[in-house]
Symmetry: C2
Subunit: 209 residues, 2 copies
């Protein structure tokens, strides 16, 4: 980007500008999330990425390094977006128990309407890659801890406000909620389209609160 010429003791700070990128990196990442989410890491080819992101192979590799690095960036972006929206949801909620049920109802709606059932990108990646790629394993594990913590703080607050029964420990409930959320995403990914199945699960979960 910069070149410094030193001639006769005088320095010339010369900067040359080059062609600008014709695409937005974050938009490209969002498209990468879409296709990795749908097809998985091993199921997505370099050609799939070129076609779906709409950039050339060279631009793709110049910008993101390689397929694995692009995947990692995509998963990290997905993680941040999800954690953020989860936090926001609880922050703006008047009633924690209602907020919790809303999260699950929303997951059910998504599971039923998804034409191409994608489930959850994080769950899919955990199953496919967590144990084979340490870097992704760490993202998955960190996400688990982070989401558990969001649930935990919310539930603890709910118990203090008397919105959630305190017969169960908040930590235990948070982990339980996380577990059922994973389960539902697997069910969706497996193609379950019977609303009654999801509703039955939700009924049992919230009998505990």
């Amino acid at each position: 980007m910069f070149r410094i010429f030193s001639i006769f003791g005088k320095e010339f700070n010369f900067e040359a500008m080059a062609r600008t990128k014709e695409f937005n990196e974050d938009q490209a990442l969002d498209k990468a999330i879409e296709i990795f989410w749908h097809k998985g890491y091993n199921g997505t080819s370099a050609q799939d990425l070129v076609t779906h992101l709409g950039l050339s192979r060279s631009s793709l590799y110049d910008t993101f390094g390689d397929k694995q690095k692009l995947f990692v960036k995509s998963l990290q972006r997905y993680q941040q977006q999800n954690e953020e929206s989860l936090k926001l949801l609880f922050e703006n909620a008047e009633n924690i128990k209602t907020a919790l049920t809303e999260i699950f109802k929303q997951a059910v709606v998504e599971s039923l309407q998804d034409r191409i059932t994608k489930g959850c990108f994080m769950v899919n990646s955990a199953v496919e890659l967590a144990m084979h790629d340490p870097e992704i394993g760490k993202i998955v594990h960190d996400n688990q801890k982070a989401v558990e913590e969001v649930f935990y703080q919310a539930i603890k607050k709910g118990q203090e406000y008397g919105q959630i029964s305190d017969k169960q420990e908040a930590r235990s409930l948070a982990r339980f909620i996380f577990n059922n959320y994973s389960g539902i995403r697997v069910l969706a990914r497996a193609g379950e389209r019977d609303k009654q199945v999801y509703d039955d699960i939700l009924k049992s979960i919230f009998a505990l609160f």
Copy 2:
């Protein structure tokens, strides 16, 4: 296999035998289950199969057709074995609630001791392939219904015997149990090794019974 010669009106029924297989087909399938379970479908190469099953490429293709057919056979075998052992467990159980907790405790033990965390072959396949391969999608869905039914019958029996609270519908509880079982298998696949996490989940689940 058979050739019938008809010479001068007289029939000769000639049968020739050939070399016998040097491997047991079911044992080969068990090895295929192992490697597909560990690495997934797309993560397992033909070379992996040749190496791990210990047969030549030609024997592999002569016997099982192709990679997809071998995978389907492996998954079906796994399904049958699991459904069978689940049924047996409930049949021999004196107390249904105890049997249910045993199933989960066993899953936790497996999750913690697995050196190479494999999770559940059915859950892994559901996430990786159910929506991309209709044949596998059907196996996954049929398994879900079958296992749910085993849980349902067991829980109903448990409620009749007064071993399980009947505040919750048996159908609802069966689906709930299935969901948590999936969730725990994902957690294991994600590499969770903290026993407390699993125990917290189990504690919440069985607070409902």
